[in-house]
């Protein structure tokens, strides 16, 4: 049973991680919370659902659809909700409020378009069940794990091996110096939004495939979890977000399994508080928060 619970936690945690990475990437370059990121995740899930329902394509196409639509939405949000405010000088509150507003607009638009009820992927997407004795897993779940980890590995390679990735890391360490050294930081910020949002969109499709609960309000809980994970992992640290996401997923599942379901959120935020008490800058401190 413990092994199955750990598998359950891994399923949940890998999607948490993808969402939390988005928060960390954006916090890294802007030092701001993107409070519509949960809604980007939600729109990604709907995009995947539409690809499947309207164009009768498979799960890979759904993931791709979620990735593209969410990535474009991320760029639009940066252009509409963040850049105009940034242009008018440093203001920490205004972009937070404008991103909350953008999130509400997205929720309302999706409610108008698709209704407030939950929607699910067609039943053939449940996949075959493999009972391996100690654990059982479906083909869809294997797909989800593979996609989630492949996305994280791809991101890791991108930020460490490519000059664009190096530029994102440099910008997130010090936007001003990066700019002086010839990096077009506006472009890097936009690119960061696109990547963060694309990962959120992938997570949305994966959650939709796994839990079959696509609704305009699915991003709300995910957003608070994503932020808690970012704090657990360390502000702006993508590896912290990966580790924190998996930790929280497994932790939540174990708390439900061995305590009670009502402790789920208490556990998530309790874990966050304990980590912050012991390591105030999170598990993978990045230096953000001391500088600037």
């Amino acid at each position: 049973m413990l092994l199955q619970q750990l598998t359950n936690g891994l399923m949940l945690g890998s999607t948490y991680a993808l969402v939390a990475i988005g928060y960390s990437l954006i916090f890294g370059v802007l030092r701001l919370l993107h409070l519509a990121h949960g809604e980007v995740f939600m729109v990604g899930a709907f995009a995947g659902l539409i690809v499947v329902l309207w164009f009768s394509l498979g799960p890979f196409a759904a993931v791709f659809g979620g990735l593209v639509v969410a990535g474009i939405l991320g760029i639009i949000l940066e252009l509409v909700a963040f850049r105009p405010i940034r242009r008018r000088g440093d203001n920490y509150l205004a972009p937070i409020v404008s991103s909350v507003g953008a999130g509400l607009v997205l929720q309302e638009v999706m409610t108008k378009l698709f209704g407030a009820e939950q929607q699910g992927f067609p039943r053939q997407f449940a996949g075959a069940v493999y009972d391996l004795g100690i654990i059982s897993i479906t083909s869809t779940q294997i797909f989800i794990i593979v996609v989630a980890f492949a996305s994280m590995i791809a991101l890791h390679l991108f930020v460490t091996r490519s000059r664009l990735g190096v530029a994102i890391r440099a910008t997130s360490e010090n936007l001003e110096i990066a700019s002086i050294l010839g990096i077009n930081v506006d472009f890097v910020i936009m690119l960061t939004f696109a990547i963060a949002s694309a990962l959120g969109g992938i997570a949305g499709v994966l959650v939709g495939l796994n839990f079959n609960a696509v609704s305009p309000f699915m991003g709300i809980d995910m957003a608070t979890k994503g932020m808690a994970i970012m704090l657990i992992g360390g502000l702006g640290s993508i590896y912290g977000a990966m580790a924190g996401g998996l930790l929280l997923g497994v932790g939540e599942v174990l708390s439900v399994a061995y305590l009670a379901s009502s402790y789920r959120d208490a556990f998530a935020f309790g874990l966050m508080i304990i980590v912050l008490l012991l390591r105030p800058r999170g598990l993978f401190a990045t230096g953000i928060g001391e500088a600037r």
């Binding site: 000059r163 190096v166 360490e173 001003e176 002086i180 050294l181 010839g182 230096g287």
Partner: protein, 254 residues
């Protein structure tokens, strides 16, 4: 021949405080031009204006015959004006080579083309950038220290690394802000050689420095700033004898 950089009637005020007042000077291509003056004379402010970090209150900046007053820092960098920092500012989260690679961005097709290149299995620019970064480390005498993080280096090596980063962008004008600070006599000698090697590559150097022996040894032209104004300009032997400069540094004769 038109000078590489022309600074004309430059004034910069911070609130009521005037950091630079009506400063004009030309930097000739292929020369080493030093900027000296007591603390608070406005040297770093002038550097920040030339590199696009600060905007002048009034006055114009011309580079290669083109007015670039008010241009954003990253675009100034892309034009070929690279710099280091008085307080070393390296990226702690990036490895030594990656820090140098940052400098390559502006000069190698820009980020948008990188994005297109990303789809290719082995993007040519990626390889070229890494190779160039290693060459620049070799040039500044750090060929043996390419891995690891910059904070593991001595302060002197960190300064060299910053110079390598600036050179990676293939600049035409290199701004060096107190490169000799904290160096022992041997290291200062090595630095002088490095600056000469840089000029030999066809790069013009504008430097701010307190180390007088170093300045006098390598500079072709010296501009002396005091309290935001130019008090003298000329070759080292002229400046050394200038009464105004001596007064500015030592105080008026009793």
């Amino acid at each position: 021949m038109t000078p590489l950089l022309q600074v004309t009637h430059l004034t910069r005020r911070f609130g009521g405080y005037t950091a630079l007042a009506d400063v004009s000077c030309d930097v000739a291509a292929g020369t080493i031009h030093a900027l000296i003056g007591p603390n608070g004379a406005g040297k770093t402010t002038l550097f920040n204006i030339v590199s696009g970090v600060l905007r002048p209150t009034t006055g114009t900046l011309v580079y290669e015959g083109r007015d670039y007053t008010g241009t954003r820092a990253d675009q100034v960098f892309a034009m070929g004006v690279a710099r280091n920092f008085q307080q070393v500012r390296l990226f702690k989260g990036l490895s030594i080579v990656e820090n140098v690679m940052i400098g390559c961005h502006a000069r190698m097709g820009g980020l948008v083309r990188d994005l297109a290149n990303l789809a290719l299995p082995k993007p040519a620019t990626e390889i070229a950038a890494r190779r160039r970064a290693l060459e620049m480390l070799e040039l500044v005498g750090m060929g043996s220290r390419t891995t690891g993080l910059p904070q593991e280096l001595t302060l002197v090596d960190q300064r060299r690394l910053e110079i390598a980063r600036a050179l990676a962008s293939t600049p035409k004008l290199l701004l060096l802000d107190e490169p000799a600070a904290g160096m022992n006599p041997t290291e200062v000698r090595e630095l002088a050689e490095l600056v000469r090697r840089i000029v030999a590559l066809g790069i013009t150097v504008l430097l701010v420095e307190h180390h007088m022996r170093f300045v006098m040894a390598i500079a072709d032209t010296i501009t002396v700033l005091s309290a935001g104004r130019i008090i003298a300009q000329g070759p080292p032997d002229v400046i050394q004898k200038d009464q105004g400069v001596i007064t500015a540094y030592l105080g008026p004769a009793p």
